[in-house]
């Protein structure tokens, strides 16, 4: 009888351990930054996961406000900074300042945060379903260029040239994902987290079964299909820029939202570019930048940098994969 009781005790303690230490999963989806933001977390308690996710989403919203070019937010946020163009230095909010001071030293003319005036032209034509004239685009383009803004990092001010307008659409989502990931990675309540914000993903932690995170990449011409799957590990960031996310068509030609800063017109080299690296901010930055380049130039740039990997789908639908992705990317059959 003793044996039986002992066995039952062992059995019940084992099964109960399974109940108590079962990993909880939590998912929250919100509309922010003109896109869908989903944070999926795992940990020991639903309450902890809910609280941690709320903290993370609150941070995301703060960054969204500070980088919103369309709606007035705080006096130091992007909308207010843009209103100050031509009026001397204007104090900028911390996240806004941080983004600008990360991008400016890169000095790359293929990614320009001053495209605001050109974007305004395209937005107006998108609503009217018309195409702007060459002259209209050229006039707006004359107001752009990295030299149109200067930063004073000691005083936290931005000075915009007359007519200049900043638009951080190329990097803001990635930046918010990275900041959110940073917050969650320091949060002891979280075992794993996946942050997904409109084409920007970062994964944190290792799944219970030890398997890699599987991230599907959408076929740029068929939203119901997957082009292939990336198997990635803790700390990986992935971003996709595509001509299928925001566009309109006039006479069968696709006018999408990713503009070539050199011409002010949509870049017509790729259907989509996916970048894999460690930071969601740089993944967003490079996916936008590489999208405006032809495949050979984009691939040459990627292969020079050991921290950067890329999947490039050209306008004919041909897929190019950088050397570091060959082992972790599986095309869909």
């Amino acid at each position: 009888m003793k044996k039986l009781l002992a066995s039952l005790l062992v059995f019940s303690s084992l099964t109960c351990a399974g109940c108590f230490f079962q990993t909880e999963k939590h998912e929250d989806t919100r509309f922010m930054m003109d896109t869908i933001v989903t944070i999926t977390t795992t940990g020991d308690s639903q309450k902890d996961l809910t609280d941690a996710t709320n903290d993370a989403l609150q941070l995301f919203q703060t960054i969204a406000n500070q980088t919103d070019p369309y709606t007035a937010q705080g006096p130091e946020d992007l909308y207010a900074v843009n209103q100050s163009a031509g009026k001397g230095p204007h104090k900028a909010s911390p996240y806004l300042m941080d983004i600008l001071s990360k991008v400016q030293p890169m000095g790359n003319r293929d990614l320009d945060l001053t495209l605001g005036p050109v974007i305004q032209v395209w937005n107006a034509h998108k609503e009217a379903k018309t195409v702007p004239s060459q002259e209209e685009v050229a006039q707006a383009l004359a107001k752009t260029g990295p030299e149109k803004y200067t930063l004073d990092t000691a005083a936290n001010t931005v000075t915009l040239a007359p007519g200049a307008q900043l638009d951080l659409g190329a990097v803001a989502k990635g930046y918010a994902v990275e900041q959110t990931a940073d917050l969650l990675s320091r949060d002891k309540r979280i075992k794993t987290a996946l942050i997904n914000a409109g084409g920007n993903i970062k994964v944190l932690g290792t799944k219970d079964d030890g398997s890699p995170w599987k991230i599907g990449i959408q076929d740029p011409r068929n939203p119901q299909k997957i082009l292939g799957t990336l198997a990635v590990k803790d700390g990986t960031a992935i971003a996709t820029s595509g001509d299928y996310q925001r566009y309109y068509e006039v006479d069968g030609k696709r006018y999408h939202h990713i503009l070539d800063p050199q011409t002010g017109w949509p870049a017509w080299h790729a259907r989509s570019v996916t970048v894999v690296t460690h930071s969601a901010f740089w993944a967003d930055y490079y996916s936008t930048l590489l999208f405006v380049l032809p495949e050979d130039k984009a691939m040459a740039l990627v292969e020079k940098d050991p921290n950067l990997e890329m999947l490039y789908v050209d306008l004919e639908g041909k897929t190019y994969v950088s050397s570091g992705l060959k082992d972790i990317y599986t095309p869909e059959k």
């Binding site: 039952l8 869908i36 599907g216 119901q224 799957t229």
Partner: protein
């Protein structure tokens, strides 16, 4: 085999059978559910296997009305007052994990199953 061993085995068998039934009843969890959310609120959860013919759901949104149609296989956005019509162009979703998002109207249409049978942790769109 002693008498106690017999009882132990019997108890274990009963427990195993019990848990098998418990998890078996979960098999209905594989049935697809169409979830319609507006902003953060779940407006409708529709068990697709119970749908007999294509049905329309009208969702009041900021700029008017969005019409969602669903049948046993899945759902699609028939019309939406949003400017870009991305949600309408996306067509029909039929598999678990697929989503139609209308960002301007803050509507999310998703197919889920309680037992998530997705191959992917996330899809980059």
């Amino acid at each position: 085999m002693r008498k106690n061993d017999f009882w132990l085995i019997l108890v274990l068998l009963v427990l195993a059978a019990g848990s098998w039934f418990l998890f078996r009843s979960d098999s209905t969890a594989r049935d697809k559910v169409l979830v319609v959310r507006k902003d953060q609120q779940v407006l409708q959860r529709i068990e697709l296997k119970k749908v007999t013919s294509e049905t329309k759901l009208i969702v009041p949104v900021e700029h008017g009305e969005m019409v969602i149609a669903y049948d046993r296989e899945g759902g699609r956005v028939l019309s939406s007052p949003c400017p870009d019509q991305v949600c309408v162009h996306q067509g029909k979703i039929t598999r678990s994990g697929q989503t139609i998002a209308c960002v301007p109207e803050k509507v999310l249409v998703t197919i889920t199953t309680a037992a998530k049978e997705n191959d992917h942790d996330a899809i980059l769109r």
